[in-house]
């Protein structure tokens, strides 16, 4: 369900709205697009990043800017939502790489994947458990088990082999079960 637009734009397709933005710099058309696609995009980005809403908001803003910067290359062979999701995944991957580099340099102040046992009330919080998975495992698990993507699509979006995607998924599920059972298992 992608519809969350203003009533006056409910009858316009994504392409019509995009054309209105490109040709007339139509703010209302952009707002309609934004309201239609941002809720899903934001939820996905926030879940994949697992670094809080502020980080996710920054990424979503970057996604919209980048989307309109590169709309000239978009051929409309896929839906606008899919294309937007692709940009979002690309941005998330870049961010996660940046976090990884920061960690290697000992500069990452962001929360690391939890190794300590969780308090009992948090064990039922599936969302939090997903957030505690290692980045690469979390990405694959969310895209496959929550978003319903195939390994081929995941591999394409994340720039990894399909086999690696399958391995990450397997490890992610094991770890998630361990976290949910309170064992704090490590792979």
């Amino acid at each position: 369900m992608h519809e969350m637009s203003a009533p006056h734009d409910s009858g316009r397709t994504d392409r019509e709205l995009v054309d209105a933005v490109l040709s007339h710099k139509d703010e209302l058309a952009f707002r309609a697009l934004y309201r239609r696609h941002t809720p899903r995009l934001f939820m996905l980005v926030a879940r994949l990043l697992a670094r809080g809403d502020r980080e996710a908001e920054d990424v979503v803003q970057e996604v919209w800017i980048h989307a309109f910067e590169s709309l000239g290359r978009f051929q409309w062979n896929s839906s606008f939502a899919t294309w937007l999701t692709g940009i979002g995944l690309h941005r998330v991957r870049d961010r996660i790489r940046k976090y990884a580099r920061s960690r290697e340099m000992g500069m990452d102040a962001l929360p690391e994947v939890a190794m300590a046992p969780d308090p009992p009330e948090a064990r039922i919080d599936l969302e939090r458990m997903i957030g505690r998975l290692p980045d690469e495992q979390r990405l694959v698990l969310v895209l496959h088990d929550v978003e319903g993507m195939k390994h081929r699509e995941i591999a394409e979006h994340l720039g990894i082999p399909e086999g690696t995607s399958k391995t990450h998924l397997s490890n992610a599920r094991k770890r998630l079960r361990a976290l949910m059972s309170g064992k704090g298992a490590q792979t």
Binding site: K25, Y34, R35, T38, F42, V60, Q61, F68, D145
Partner: protein, 268 residues
Amino acid sequence: MTDELTPEEKEALGNLPRERMPVGLEARVVEAMREHGFLEKRRRTIVLTGGRVAGLVAASVALVIGAYSIGLHRGGGETVVPPAAKLMEAERAPVDRAAKTPPAREEKAEGITDNEAREAAEPAVAEAEQQVAPESRTEAGKKDILESREEKLAAPRTRPVSEDEARAEQTWQARPDEEARAQAQREATAPPAAKTLAPEPAAKDAGRSRMMTFDAAPRVKKQSFTFLLNGTPLTVEADSVRVNEDERGRILHIYTPDGVIRLRLAGD
């Protein structure tokens, strides 16, 4: 344990929310889009409702009435004096102030003889000349005033004028000594309390004060001045006239609402 999800696990993952609208992000993104030039710059649109139109009309009417009232209050409905003529007013203010003696004083002055009046007027005339603004006490300024008084602007008036017109003209024109003396007489015979209205401590302040007094005084739009041009009378309608002198001779300045006419006087 297999890698496959159990039905409970699938259900739990399937029940996770898929959408969430971030609060306050829309305005930020729209602004960022605007900064990048993808959206038009913000334009403020004012919708004219009935109430706003009524308010605008009311404000316009109030503005017009206010301006009209101020105009009536300050100008008395008369025409505006050109700047050049105002400068002349400042120079002649002390003498003119004597002309503004209330009519009651004039009636009092009628009861005295000419000699008594002249003697009484001497100090007032002297005081008036003392209070001429410093800038007009230069040689040229003094000469202007003296000339204008002595020559009575080249020729006598030919048409009869009413008493009001004459008084008003005295406000704007240089007068012969007789007139100045008569005015001074009236001031001299006025009650002391009235005389104390005039004194100013400094010449500059005095000039400014006199200018304000002039603004409030009744004004005459135009007056007729008659000159003898090669023996032929020439009548000119103007606000005022004035004679100045430079190295080449004397120049007659005729101040009209449309501008100043300068005539070089030959044969001096």
